[in-house]
C-alpha cells in the first residue's frame, strides 16, 4: 500500500515528466517526428496487417507504426511519445515494486525512460521498440501475479518465445527480470533460470531461418541499428526546411532561412535554393548562403549516398518541371527509406503522375493514400483533380506547362541537357533558367554560363540578378570586351565599379582572400577565386 506522500510524489514526477517530455519533443525535435511519419506509410488494410507476421516483433511493430502515423499531426508526435513513455515509466515503477524496493521508485523508473527519450532522438529508433518494452514489462508483471508455482514456470517458458515473436529483441529483458524477481522472493530455481536463459540466447537463432534474417538482424530486431548519435539539432534544422517545404509552407521555409543560422550542409542549401528560386531570387541571393558547388542545386545520388539525400532528391526535379527524373528520384527515395514505403514519396508520385496526366498511375498511388488515416483527405481531393477542370487547379496548370514537349535520352546526372530542354519547351520557365545558369556558375564554368545566358536572356528585358551580372563581368574581362558590350548586358555602373575595386584589391593583395572577404565575401568574384570543394586537393 502506498502512502499519501508516495502517491503525491508519483503524481508530481508524472506531471513534470509529461511537461518535460512533451516540451522536449515538441519544441526541440518537432520536425524529426514529422519526418519519421513521412518515411512510413501505414495502411489500414488486412494484407498490410498480415505483412507484419513475416518478421519478429509483429505486434510491437504494428502498434508502433500505428502510433507513428499520429506524428503527422502538429503536436501529435510529442503527445504520442509522451504517452508511450509515461506508460513505460509507470510499468517500470510496478516492476521495481516487485523487487521490494521501497524508496525513490518514481525516480529510479525514470532512468530507463530517460535513456529511451534520448534513443528516440535517433531517426532509426522506432516507436515499436518502446511498445515492445511495454509488452515485455506487462508480461513480466502478469508473471508476478501467478502464485501457482508450476503455473508460473509454464507461463515463463511459454511466454518467453512468444515475447520474441510479438516484441522482438526486448524480450531479452524478461529472463533477467524473472531471475531478479525470484531472487528477491527467495525462490531459487536454477534449472528453470537456466532454461529461460537458454531460450533467451538461442530462440532468435532458431527463428532466424523462418524470418529470413541474418544472425545480427535476429538479435536486434526491431532495432535496425545500434548506433547512438544523440540529440542532433543541426539535422533538426535541415529537417525543418525539408518538412516545411513538403507542407508547402514556403513562408515558413523563408522564415527559417532568414532567422536560423543554417548549417553548412548540402540539403540545407538545396531547400534554401528551392525556396529562393520559387520567389525568383535564386541568382540574386545565391551567394548569400553556403554553396557546396552544384550539390546544393541537385543532391548527388549514387551508390554511396545516404538515404536521406536520396529521399529529398526528387524535390528539385519536381520544382523545375523534370517529371521523369522527379519520378525516378521519388521511387529511389521510397526504395531506400527505412520502411521502403513512404507517405511523402507516394504523395509526390501521385502529383507527378497527375501532372503527367497519367490517370491510372495517379490512381494507383491515391488508392494507397486512401487506405491511410491521415492522407485519405489529401488523396480524395487529388482524386477530384483527375476528372476536374484544370483551370480550377492553377498549380497543376503551371506544372503541366513546364513538361518537355519532345523526347531525348540523357544520363541521370546530365542536368544541363534537361534544363535546356525544359527551356526549349517553355522559355518562360524561370526556375529551369536559374537552375541552368546557377549550375554553370557554381561549377565555375563561365563559358557555358555565358553561352546559355546569351541564348536564353540576352536582348530580353529581364531583371539581371546580382550573380549573373558579376559572372558576366568576369566573362567580359576574360574576353577583353568593350564598354559598349558591357552596356549591352545592362550591367549597372555600380556593379562594374565594384568589380574594378575587387580586381584592384585582388591584384594588390597578391591573390590573398582575407582583404576581400568582408567587402566581397558574398560576390560571385570571391566564390570564383576562392571556393574549394571540401576534400579536394589543394583545399
Amino acid at each position: 500500500m502506498q502512502t499519501r506522500d508516495e502517491i503525491w510524489t508519483q503524481i508530481l514526477v508524472a506531471v513534470i515528466f509529461i511537461i518535460g517530455c512533451f516540451s522536449f519533443f515538441q519544441f526541440l525535435l518537432p520536425y524529426h517526428l514529422f519526418f519519421k511519419e513521412q518515411t512510413q506509410l501505414f495502411l489500414l488494410t488486412t494484407e498490410y496487417f498480415i505483412s507484419y507476421f513475416s518478421k519478429p516483433a509483429w505486434l510491437a511493430c504494428y502498434m508502433g507504426d500505428f502510433l507513428t502515423q499520429f506524428y503527422y499531426l502538429r503536436g501529435g508526435g510529442a503527445a504520442v511519445l509522451t504517452l508511450v513513455l509515461l506508460i513505460e515509466w509507470w510499468l517500470f515503477m510496478q516492476v521495481l515494486r516487485q523487487f521490494r524496493l521501497k524508496k525513490g521508485i518514481p525516480f529510479l523508473a525514470l532512468i530507463p525512460v530517460f535513456i529511451e527519450c534520448l534513443l528516440h532522438c535517433e531517426l532509426h529508433y522506432s516507436l515499436s521498440v518502446s511498445v515492445a518494452f511495454i509488452l515485455v514489462l506487462s508480461t513480466f508483471l502478469l508473471y508476478t501475479r501467478i502464485k501457482h508455482t508450476w503455473g508460473a514456470l509454464v507461463f515463463g517458458v511459454i511466454s518467453l518465445p512468444l515475447l520474441y515473436i510479438i516484441a522482438g529483441i526486448p524480450f531479452f529483458l524478461f529472463s533477467p527480470l524473472v531471475i531478479i524477481y525470484e531472487i528477491s522472493e527467495r525462490k531459487i530455481r536454477l534449472f528453470y533460470w537456466l532454461l529461460l536463459i537458454l531460450i533467451m540466447v538461442f530462440f532468435p537463432f532458431i527463428m532466424k531461418p523462418l524470418y529470413l534474417l541474418t544472425t545480427k538482424q535476429a538479435y536486434q530486431y526491431p532495432l535496425s541499428s545500434l548506433k547512438i548519435n544523440g540529440l542532433n539539432l543541426k539535422r533538426e534544422k535541415i529537417l525543418a526546411l525539408a518538412s516545411e517545404s513538403y507542407f508547402e509552407n514556403w513562408k515558413g521555409v523563408n522564415e527559417l532561412i532568414d532567422a536560423e543560422q543554417l548549417p553548412s550542409n548540402a540539403v540545407a542549401t538545396y531547400y534554401t535554393n528551392i525556396a529562393l528560386s520559387r520567389e525568383g531570387k535564386l541568382a540574386d541571393k545565391l551567394l548569400d548562403y553556403y554553396q557546396p558547388f552544384s550539390q546544393g542545386l541537385f543532391l548527388q545520388v549514387g551508390p554511396t549516398s545516404n538515404w536521406m539525400d536520396i529521399f529529398f532528391s526528387s524535390d528539385v526535379f519536381f520544382h523545375v518541371g523534370d517529371m521523369n527524373m522527379a519520378q525516378h528520384s521519388a521511387m529511389l527515395g521510397m526504395i531506400f527509406s527505412p520502411h521502403n514505403r513512404s507517405s511523402r514519396m507516394v504523395k509526390r508520385l501521385s502529383e507527378i503522375n497527375l501532372v503527367n496526366s497519367d490517370t491510372t498511375a495517379t490512381r494507383k498511388y491515391l488508392r494507397l493514400l486512401e487506405a491511410t488515416w491521415f492522407h485519405r483527405k489529401w488523396a480524395l481531393e487529388h482524386e477530384k483533380m483527375l476528372s476536374g477542370n484544370i483551370e480550377d487547379y492553377p498549380w497543376l496548370q503551371a506544372k503541366r506547362s513546364q513538361i518537355p514537349n519532345r523526347d531525348i535520352i540523357r544520363m541521370s546526372s546530365d542536368y544541363p541537357t534537361i534544363l535546356n530542354l525544359l527551356l526549349e519547351s517553355n522559355p518562360d520557365n524561370r526556375r529551369a533558367l536559374d537552375y541552368l545558369l546557377c549550375f554553370y556558375l557554381l561549377n565555375k564554368d563561365i563559358q557555358s554560363f555565358s553561352q546559355a545566358y546569351d541564348k536564353w536572356c540576352k536582348g530580353k528585358e529581364i531583371h539581371l540578378p546580382k550573380a549573373y551580372s558579376e559572372a558576366l563581368l568576369i566573362k567580359l574581362a576574360m574576353t577583353k570586351a568593350t564598354q559598349k558590350e558591357r552596356k549591352e548586358y545592362g550591367i549597372s555602373d555600380e556593379v562594374a565599379n565594384a568589380f574594378a575595386e575587387y580586381t584592384a584589391t585582388y591584384e594588390g593583395s597578391g591573390g590573398n582572400l582575407e582583404p576581400l572577404r568582408e567587402r566581397f565575401g558574398k560576390t560571385y568574384w570571391f566564390y570564383f577565386h576562392f571556393a574549394r570543394m571540401k576534400g579536394r586537393s589543394g583545399e
Binding site: L43, T45, T46, E47, Y48, P209, L212, L213, T214, Q217, D322, M323, N324, M325, Q327, H328, M331, L332, M334, I335, F336, N340, R341, V355, N356, S357, D358, T360, A361, R363, K364, R367, L368, A371, I403, P404, N405, R406, D407, I408, I409, R410, M411, S412, I418, L421
Partner: protein
Amino acid sequence: MGKINTYLFLLVSCILLAGCGHSGNVTVSEELPPVYPDYTNVSIPYNIAPLNFLLRNKPGVVEIKLKGKTKELLIRDSYKVQFAQDTWKSLMEAEKGNTIKVQITAKVGGEWIQYAPFHWHVVSEAIDPYLSYRLIEPGYEVWNKIQLRERNLENFNERVIADNNLTDNSCMNCHTYGNQDPNLSFFHLRGATGGTILNRNGQLRKLTTKANELLASLVYGNFHPSGRYGVFSSNIILPAFHTYKSERLEVYDTESELYVLDFDKNRIIPLPEDTIPEKPFRTFPVFSANGTSVYYCEAPRVSLPDSIHQLMYSLHRIDFDAASCTFGSRVDTLFSASEEGKSICHLKTSPDGKYIMYTIADYGTFPIWHRETDLQMIDLNTGEINELQAVNATCSDTYHSWSSDSRWFVFASKRDDGLYGKPYFSYIDEQGVAHKPFVLPQRDPAFYDYTLKSFNIPELSKGKLPFDALDIERMYWHTEADTMRLMTH
C-alpha cells in the same frame, strides 16, 4: 411465450429479407460489372486458384451466381468476393471444358443492380502449377530489397526461394527454368561471393567465369533441352532517361556477345568469329525446342544513346550441334528489323517447337518501359506472325514464359497502372489463337492496389523447386564456385 418467439422470428426474418433481398427491385444494367482484376470473359485453367475479385464501386452486398453446365453456385459477399477454395475446386473440376456464366447483382447506394453477365471458359488443359518471379520495386536500374519467390498457382501458397537480405544485399537476376522442369534452373546471384546458381537434377552449383575473360557478366540465358548446355549473352548494360512524360527509362547495351556454357565440362564456347569488321550487338539467345539451333537477337551498331531510335534488333537463327558443341556457319534471318521497322527481344521457343514468342517495340533492346511494347509470335513452320491482339494492352507486355505443354504462357504486363508489372496468363488453343489473359489471382483481391513491387520474369514450372532461400544463403557464403573457362576459336 412460444408464440411471441415465433412472431419475433418472423419479424426479424422479414427485416433481414427486406434488407437483403432484391426480388422485383432490380435495375438491369447492360454494362459489365466494375470487376477488378479484370476477370471478365477469360479462359482459365481448371487447376487455377480462385479468381477472387472486387467491385470498384464498393457495393454493400454482392450476389454472384455462377452457372456452369453441371453445377450452379450462389454466393453472397461484400464488395470483395473471395471464394472458398474447396467450393471453387469442385466447381472447376465439374466444369472442366465448359463455360461458366457469372451473373453479378450488387446493392449500390441502396439500389440493386444486375450487371451484364460475363463468362469463364474453363480449359481442361492444366497450367503448370508453379510460378517463380522476382519481386522488386520498379526503381529502374537500382535495388534495395529483392526476393525470388515461388507461387503455387493452384492455391495461394507462396514461398521465398532467394532473398538478398541473406546474401549481403546483392542483386539477383531472374530465375529461369529449362523445359519448365523444377530440377533444371538457374539465376545469377551478384555480389562478392556470388555466381550463377545452377540447379541441375536438384543439385545446386555455383558457377563463375574467370575475371575479364568474358565481355561482362552473363545476363540473359536459356537451357539446351538436354540440360547440359546453356546459351547466354554477356552484356554491358547502361540506363538512360527519357525526357518526355510517357516514356521513362531506356536500357541499352554498349557491348554484347553470345556464349554457350557446357555445364559438364565447365567450359564456355563463343560464337564463331565475325567476318565483318564492326561486331554487331547480339543478345537474348535461346535454343530451339529440339536443341539443334540457337535463336538470338542481333542489331548493327549505332551511336548510343544519341541514335537509340535507330537501334533495332532482328531475329536470327544459327545451327548448333550438341554432340560436338559447335555452331553451323549459316545464319538465317527470321525477322528483319530493317524491313519491319521494329525491334525484337526476349525470345522464348515453345516446348512443342511450333512457335517463338518475343517482345516487339519501336526500337531498343529492353523496352519494358515503352508503352508500345507488345508480344508477338512466329509460327516456325509457316513463318507467319501472330500479333496476339487479344493478349496485348496499351502498356508494356513483356517477359513471357511458356508452360510445358505449350498451351499456356505467362507474361509481365504493366497494363494496370503503367508502372508495376504483374503476371498474366493466356491460353493458346489448338489453332494457335491466344485468348484474353487474366492476372495471377490473389487471396485478397485488393492485393495489387497496395503492393509496391513489380513481378519480374514470371516463369512457369511443372513442380516445386528443390531449394529455398536458406540453401541460396549457404551457396552464397559457403560454397566454392566452379570456374568456367573460355575456349578460344
